[in-house]
Amino acid sequence: MSMNVIRKCFGIICIFYVATLFTPLAVSGEESVTVTVGSKKFTESVILGEIVSHLAEDKALKPVHRRELGGTRVLWSALLKGEIDIYPEYTGTISREIFAGLGIENEEEIRRALSEKGIRMTGPLGFNNTYVIGMRADVARKLGIRKISDLRNHPELSLGFGNEFMDRGDGWPSLKERYSLPQKDVRGMDHDLAYRGLQSGDIDAMDLYATDAEIQYYKLQTLTDDLSHFPEYNALILYRADLEARAPGIISALSRLEGLISEPEMILMNARAKLDRIPESKIAADFLAARLSLDAEAHGETVMSRFWQHTYEHLFLVCISLIAAIGVSIPLGIIAAKKTKLGQIILGFVGIIQTIPSLALLVFMIPLLGIGGPPAIAALFLYSLLPIVRNTYTGIHDIPLHIRESSEAIGLSAGARLRIVEVPMASSSILAGIKTSAVINVGTATLGALIGAGGYGQPILTGIRLDDVGLILQGALPAALLALFVQGAFEIAERMLVPRGLRLKSMA
């Protein structure tokens, strides 16, 4: 083969390669359509999300699964905003939480209320994942408790409920009222952690999801809802109405799920994920293969590829938010030091931001910026302001008067004074502020996973859900190491950036 032919072949391969890269953009039709699937931060929701993703893939769509996006409120507003297209939900949650107070009861009313918002739903998938109140069987037997109303006679019991259950429309406040429950020691906690609290005896009763695999595993006694407080929580899939035009294939595929999943089947799938630690993607693929003869491919990721992905996401969140915060905070700190009145307002304002709980701030950002990276970056940016503004202010404010006046008296303009004298003299303080912000930022960024921003928080979140310490460490260790690294990097930067004259001890 002559050189020429090789060159020609190579050229053709290149063209093909480039062409395939652009195919999804070039070819119109369903092939190129991306469908974003959301799931809540509990295992069943993640499995259902995976099932939907496999179905979408089978229809030649490009599914993106935003896993473990937090609670109902986050998912629902993301769906309304079009941040996600599809997510699994429960009838009881729709009627009692999303449309709480509207008196919506049956499926038809739900369907109508949803469609007013531009949302459609599939028929029920077949299982009812209602809330139940559960206790350790031995404790329940000893106290003779079989029904929820029996709890009335035991005011001393301590209860631990999932955070969402604590204040949702159908949660603890209305349950307490319905049954006139006297318990005073009631705590909100993560649902997956509550199981461990129940096991260790820290709490005596908790809210369970009827399809939780742990009920059998921990041999829990479920208490009869004798006053029928809880409605039915039939699982179904919600999707945006515009999907019917955008990706009609997925609608018919979703309808194949109706009535397909029985309660024992769902419990089994949950058990495989939580007890056998089988990846949700594999469980979903197995289910579809068995029930719909669908040849879905489970997506496995290696630990390393996941690690790099999380590292990339985490650094992305931290770097963008921190750089933006530095760019804004230093000028703000300078203004605060120069203008007394405006300074008080600035310092007060950034101080107030700092008092907003980080989780709340993240959720506040969702209506403005949706889910994922942007709201997390915005929240981290706001959190990073105070230390830098404060330290810039202090650094400049504390420059001795005689030095400040000398710089004025020798004839430097205000801008030159800032550049030549004030900022260099405050540099040590400003850098310390940036260092504090960076370290806090690295830690706080782990919460970004709750609203779909990924990062080291993702394995922590999944680890808590699956009670997998190894997985938690996959997020917690790198986050801690990154914080230490940032700390060290800034100490080196300090040596390089702070003028030597400021680091000297006086001769005297």
């Binding site: 001795p400 030095i403 006046e405 710089s407 020798i410 004259g501 000297l504």
Partner: protein, 248 residues
């Protein structure tokens, strides 16, 4: 040269200066003296525009000192203060040349001027690369003086320039400073509370009390022709206790 006409300045309730009128003539050394809080430093700060008078005018070569021209006027004045006011993050060299650099003088011109100043102030060349904290108090004041003189201003303002130094160094530096003033033939206004220092430097001495000028004249005038008992009282208050030792 520098004229103050009916200048009044108050800080909150306190009157720092009450309708002060004063002319400091060119090429002469005028010393402002008086007890603490008499307004002598405020007067100096008004001239260089670090504070603004409530009423009256301050003129420099016939031009009123105002916020719009204060930057250009400051470059015609050198200012030295007790604490030195040196920038701790810059070497002695950078402290001295910062303004020349800002005005984009070329390197040769800067080096030339620097050499002149080193000779004038007897400052060692190798000290230029030290930071202020690595210099003694006397050396710091020499650097401060060089910085004030770098742009070759026509007026030199000094606010207690030797106040923070110990007595031996102070005496040496007094002598040197006087020689420098004589060599430069600039208009010098110096603030001190030490009557000995005032008489040593001053072609004219201005004694202030509570924001008003009590007497203005040569040192001899103040000693031998006081216009107010306060003048004599102020001078006697600083008589050296050593005189008593000698008397015994």
């Amino acid at each position: 040269m520098i004229e103050l006409n009916n200048v009044t300045k108050t800080f909150g309730q306190t009157q720092a200066l009450q309708s002060v009128t004063l002319t400091c003539s060119g090429g002469k050394t005028t010393v402002l003296i008086g007890p603490s809080g008499c307004g002598k430093s405020t007067l100096l700060r008004l001239i260089i525009g670090l504070t603004e008078q409530d009423s009256g005018t301050v003129t420099f070569d016939g031009v009123p000192v105002a916020p719009n021209n204060v930057f250009s006027l400051r470059r015609k004045m050198g200012y030295v203060i007790q604490e030195g006011g040196l920038f701790p993050h810059l070497t002695a060299r950078r402290n001295i040349t910062v303004m020349a650099g800002y005005l984009k003088w070329n390197a040769d011109r800067i080096e030339e001027r620097l050499d002149e100043l080193l000779e004038l102030t007897q400052f060692p060349h190798d000290g230029l690369d030290r930071f202020p904290l690595q210099l003694s108090g006397g050396q710091q004041q020499r650097v401060s003086l060089m910085r004030a003189l770098m742009l070759d201003p026509s007026v030199l303002l000094l606010d207690e320039p030797l106040g923070a130094l110990d007595p031996m160094i102070r005496a040496d530096l007094q002598e040197e400073l006087k020689e420098i003033f004589q060599a430069l033939k600039k208009t010098v206004i110096l603030v001190t509370h030490d009557i000995g220092e005032a008489c040593y430097f001053g072609d004219e001495v201005v004694l202030l009390r509570e924001g008003t000028i009590i007497q203005k004249g040569t040192p001899e005038d103040l000693v031998f022709a006081p216009v107010d008992p306060f003048v004599t009282h102020f001078i006697n208050a600083q008589r050296s206790p050593l005189e008593n030792v000698r008397a015994q």
